[in-house]
Symmetry: C2
């Protein structure tokens, strides 16, 4: 199935005129939608974690699932530079699921809400003959009606990312390999189980002059940069040697683990921010913890990888992939 082609077809059905409806400032296609509610923008987004697709009960605790479900939806608000306001939580429950697991998931969710300053204001419970799912719709507010989109990158911009790339995918690799002691790679495992939405960073990036564009890295750096360059009508050159890697990723590789560069390029679920900006903003963004990893050019929809000045082949997607 070509997921993105399907999503494009669905979007055309929902926005037949190609533009959002009345009261809608920014419709489908970005990290979140923006609605006009009397001057202050309301930001809305939704995301799901499905058992068997996004997590396995044997690799994590119920609390991790709940925490991550909240974090994943809040990450979309962070990418817009929005402040979180409220969550709606929908559980899809198999008949044979122990109530303790649902309560555990809820505890993790409540923990994330306290940590990120947001409330669960509503929800739904539905039964299923299939796997467990938690879906979270996150609502936020813009700062004075301003927000960051993925469509604003311009040729000449720098490409920056926050934190480290590939850690979550390597954390999953640690958990899935019974021969790897997970307590030796706590940072990687934590990146996978307990991602932190970059909410404060998103607000700081929004306030930085010269920033044109932001999104979060959820599908994997290359996949998401692909979304960004297509939405912006530009291309990008990435310096592979500049990708920020976690020390544990290098230690894991030395012990026989996967290539951390491939994990950084293709691994999903980092939930870091990807930002494009005027070169003048570099110092301020570096001070916020962002690393420059490339430049934007006019080669529409293309991404070229370089390592030490030489072309670097796009690695096949060896990370795990889900819809």
């Amino acid at each position: 199935v070509d997921e993105f082609a399907l999503i494009q077809r669905i979007r055309r059905l929902f926005e037949p005129t190609g533009s959002p409806g009345p009261g809608i400032v920014l419709g489908n296609g970005d990290d979140a939608a923006v609605l006009d509610t009397d001057g202050e923008g309301l930001v809305a987004t939704t995301d799901s974690l499905v058992e068997g697709t996004h997590f396995r009960w044997d690799l994590c605790r119920p609390r991790d699932v709940g925490f991550k479900a909240a974090a994943v939806s809040l990450s979309d608000l962070a990418a817009m530079g929005a402040r979180p306001l409220a969550l709606l939580v929908s559980f899809t429950l198999p008949a044979d699921l122990d109530d303790k697991q649902v309560i555990g998931v809820s505890r993790g969710l409540a923990r994330a809400c306290r940590g990120f300053g947001v409330s669960v204001v509503g929800g739904n419970v539905a039964g299923t003959q299939g796997p467990f799912e938690v879906n979270i719709a996150a609502l936020g507010r813009t700062l004075d009606g301003r927000y960051l989109t993925r469509s604003g990158a311009r040729p000449g911009d720098l490409v920056l990312v926050s934190g480290h790339l590939g850690s979550a995918a390597l954390g999953l690799a640690v958990l899935m390999d019974e021969d790897v002691p997970s307590n030796r790679y706590r940072t990687l495992v934590r990146a996978f189980l307990r991602p932190e939405p970059r909410l404060e960073l998103g607000l700081s990036v929004l306030e930085t002059p010269g920033v044109h564009c932001a999104m979060d890295v959820s599908d994997g750096f290359l996949a998401d940069l692909g979304h960004l360059v297509r939405a912006s009508g530009v291309g990008a050159r990435v310096e592979v040697d500049r990708l920020p890697l976690c020390k544990e990723a290098l230690r894991f590789q030395a012990a026989g683990g996967p290539d951390p560069v491939t994990a950084a390029l293709n691994g999903g679920e980092d939930y870091e921010l990807l930002v494009c900006d005027d070169p003048e903003a570099l110092g301020r963004l570096q001070a916020l913890g962002l690393s420059p990893v490339g430049t934007v050019n006019g080669r529409k929809g293309r991404i070229d990888l370089y390592r030490h000045g030489r072309k670097y082949p796009v690695p096949k997607n060896t990370g795990y992939k889900h819809r």
Copy 2:
């Protein structure tokens, strides 16, 4: 599994102080939550349709599923007296699902959006090893910050319902019985496949002086009246002979179909409005198409049924039930 007990436990985790967080006017437990966004209230709710639990592909078209998914979520806004603003749509897709079915569901959703004056502003697609699911978060606005809750009923109030009760459950019975020609019971079948959220009616009820309380009938009249009397700290007496029944329901019964009174009391998914008000408001509410079916009293949490002045036993739940 005791669904309501589980939901109460989850709610306590999300609202440990028993009161909603800052910026939240009305939290978990009503048809929808109300958030304070600079004076005008934002109303938010979420609902799911799960294949095998709420619908079967062999009993309806994909368009019906999409239409109903939108209608079910919008019905919660109607019950608050809110105007719809935007929907977030989440699909959970089995790998073997034909794209045509997803497109069909989306067409039905888009049709409902046009009909009810609302836009899909965002969404998500997730893969699953289980059944298809569509989850919809609906956002709406209050009229001048006013809204209807399920907790405002007072002893001495009348109990009224809109439209007919039990039609949806009987429509499902028609569809499930291969020996019943469904084209003879189009109104019943339509009530099940294409429920109409009572959005205009909800606004009119909100504007009617003397109305204290409203909710929609989704779990079944008796179950939902039970939620209402518990939330309001009151009891209710229902005149079973006054329950508004569709003519086709009586015709179906004469042809060997189920008892329409039992369907009206226990059948789910009517998506009509249940309203409690001062007796003085009766004329105005009847003019809006609401029927008086009972009275509110002080017998906390109790519901008594009467038929022609005699006690009527609560029928066992013979309707289909889902979480």
